[in-house]
């Protein structure tokens, strides 16, 4: 097996064994350190080690008993849910409009919409903080949702535009020639066919908002502190083991969302 050629240039598997080992190590580095947090979160002592010397649910209780952590979780979930709605709707409309319109300006507008992905987040955070101060949007859910939506729109635009490319717009023309209005044709013919891209985009926006630290750090004070903001501050000051239990929950959530996105991807490619 090992002596068989691996590539068309006749390198054998044995000759590039080092390459496989290197790749194995890289994959290990990518996945395992994060997963080690899961068993450590069940540790009974303040000092987390692997494997834990004693097992307990102490840090989960610490999380669920804490009013602050629960409030932060609730703010984060609300912000993420609203961001998903706002970014997916506006982003999908923009992707559809810019894809179908044949005016030359569409190219420039697409670049404008991708800007939030290019500009360093710290700059967006400083800018938003400055903008929201006179509008009293700092420490408000609206402010959080607006700024997180701006971050998510580029991803929605890219994902949905990719989906639109696989869709034959003539189908919509057929529906319209049969008497459907454009909105109706979009909802009944186009949307069902780009559904998986739109859902992927929605998942991405949810994750972007749930994961966002830097903007929240500047604008989400007081009651509006998000989960990432609290985690960041707790990590900077001292390593609170409660974060291990929160991290475990977040890791399981991200595995779930990743699985969902893979499922959508597979359906889309079929």
């Amino acid at each position: 097996m090992l002596r068989r050629p691996a590539t068309s240039t006749q390198i054998t598997h044995l000759q590039r064994l080092w390459l496989y080992i290197l790749c194995g190590l890289v994959l290990f580095y990518l996945v395992v350190p994060t997963l080690l947090v899961i068993p450590m979160s069940f540790s009974g002592s303040r000092f987390l080690s692997f494997p834990p010397e004693t097992w307990s649910l102490r840090w989960y209780r610490a999380y669920f008993d804490s009013v602050e952590w629960r409030a932060a979780t609730s703010v984060s979930l609300q912000a993420a849910a609203w961001t998903t709605v706002v970014a997916t709707v506006t982003g999908t409309l923009a992707a559809y409009g810019l894809h179908c319109s044949r005016l030359k300006i569409t190219k420039h507008l697409s670049v404008l919409l991708v800007l939030p992905m290019i500009i360093p987040v710290i700059l967006l955070a400083v800018g938003v903080f400055m903008l929201f101060a006179p509008l009293q949007l700092n420490s408000s859910l609206t402010g959080l949702v607006l700024s997180h939506s701006a971050l998510a729109i580029p991803l929605v635009l890219i994902t949905v535009t990719a989906g639109m490319r696989n869709f034959d717009l003539n189908q919509e023309q057929v529906a319209r020639s049969l008497g459907a209005s454009r909105p109706r044709a979009f909802v009944t013919v186009t949307l069902p066919q780009i559904r998986n891209s739109v859902l992927s985009a929605a998942l991405l926006s949810f994750v972007v908002s749930l994961d966002e630290v830097v903007i929240a750090l500047l604008i989400a004070g007081g009651d509006m502190a998000t989960l990432p903001r609290r985690m960041f501050l707790a990590l900077r000051d001292e390593i609170d083991p409660t974060i291990a239990s929160i991290s475990t929950i977040l890791i399981l959530l991200s595995i779930l969302l990743l699985g969902l996105s893979q499922l959508l991807d597979r359906k889309r490619s079929k």
Binding site: L30, T34, L123, L250
Partner: protein, 296 residues
């Protein structure tokens, strides 16, 4: 006759006008998103630019003059050093993985890609926290190193440059692997076969055929990783322990500690200009690479 002609012309202009309004209507679908991005991104960026030239007496360059102070120079150097190091390590680790994954069976490649996507979907803070726990003085890695007799005393792995680099490479690696994989997947296997047929050794074929053809992916990966690293805040702030001062942290600090809007906006404008300049440079370079690859 002429009235019929003018009728046709009238019809045509009416149709053209209708088509144009139709296009405008389509375009207007993008207005909510544009409005939001304009409000959240463009206006504040313009304002930041404006503020950086302003003090109590009006126009000034004082904020930029202050940036000439050596401490800012040091920050800029750290930022670039870290970005270079992280990008280089990502290339060294990411290229082989993408190379192997692109040659695997679809099912095996799927598993590898899942491993690459997993950190991508996991919270940045969670991953940074994991490194903090693993790398600290009494952390798991030091325990293992000492148990295996590799070191006598615990190593300083975190709250310094090393820890920051380890954590940042972990965050950035997927951004390198995914474009590389996409580029390598589109390389026609026949080129390598032809090279072997024409007498190239495997090493020659790899360097002269595979590497040049994968350059667009490499360029995209390098660009994304480098630019993201330049403006990175969270991981250096947590894993650097105050010893690694990045440009982004300098911005946050001048606001949070000194409430100095002039300095913060000047620092911000510099970061923005550097970022855009890098993007421009990379797109020029990869454009040149694409042209060269196309000319082969």
């Amino acid at each position: 006759m002429s009235s019929a002609e003018s009728g046709v012309r009238q019809n045509e202009t009416a149709l053209a006008r209708q088509a144009f309004t139709e296009q405008l209507k389509l375009l207007s679908l993008s207005f909510p998103a544009l409005l939001l991005v304009g409000f959240i991104v463009l206006i504040p960026m313009g304002w930041l630019f404006w503020l950086s030239f302003l003090d109590a007496d009006g126009f000034t360059l004082a904020h930029y003059e202050r940036l000439l102070h050596p401490s800012y120079g040091l920050t800029l150097r750290t930022t670039f050093e870290l970005a270079f190091l992280v990008t280089a390590v990502c290339v060294v680790l990411g290229y082989p993985l993408a190379y192997i994954a692109a040659q695997m069976s679809p099912r095996a490649a799927r598993i590898v890609l899942l491993c690459v996507l997993f950190p991508f979907w996991t919270s940045l803070l969670v991953r940074t926290y994991a490194w903090l726990v693993l790398l600290q003085r009494r952390g798991q890695l030091n325990t293992w190193l000492q148990d295996w007799g590799l070191t006598d005393a615990p190593l300083r792995l975190v709250h310094n440059f090393t820890g920051t680099a380890i954590g940042m490479v972990h965050i950035m690696l997927p951004f390198m692997i995914l474009p590389l994989y996409a580029a390598m997947k589109s390389i026609d296997e026949n080129y390598m076969r032809a090279a072997a047929n024409l007498g190239a050794s495997p090493v020659q074929a790899f360097w002269q055929i595979h590497v040049p053809l994968s350059l667009p992916g490499l360029g995209a990966g390098v660009m994304v990783v480098f630019v993201l690293s330049l403006g990175f805040y969270v991981t250096p702030a947590l894993l650097g322990g105050g010893r690694v001062m990045m440009w982004a942290m300098q911005i946050e600090r001048s606001l949070a500690v000194y409430s100095d809007w002039g300095a913060a906006s000047a620092l911000g404008v510099v970061l923005l200009v550097i970022t855009l300049a890098m993007l421009w440079l990379f797109s020029r370079l990869t454009g040149a690479v694409n042209a060269a690859a196309g000319g082969r």
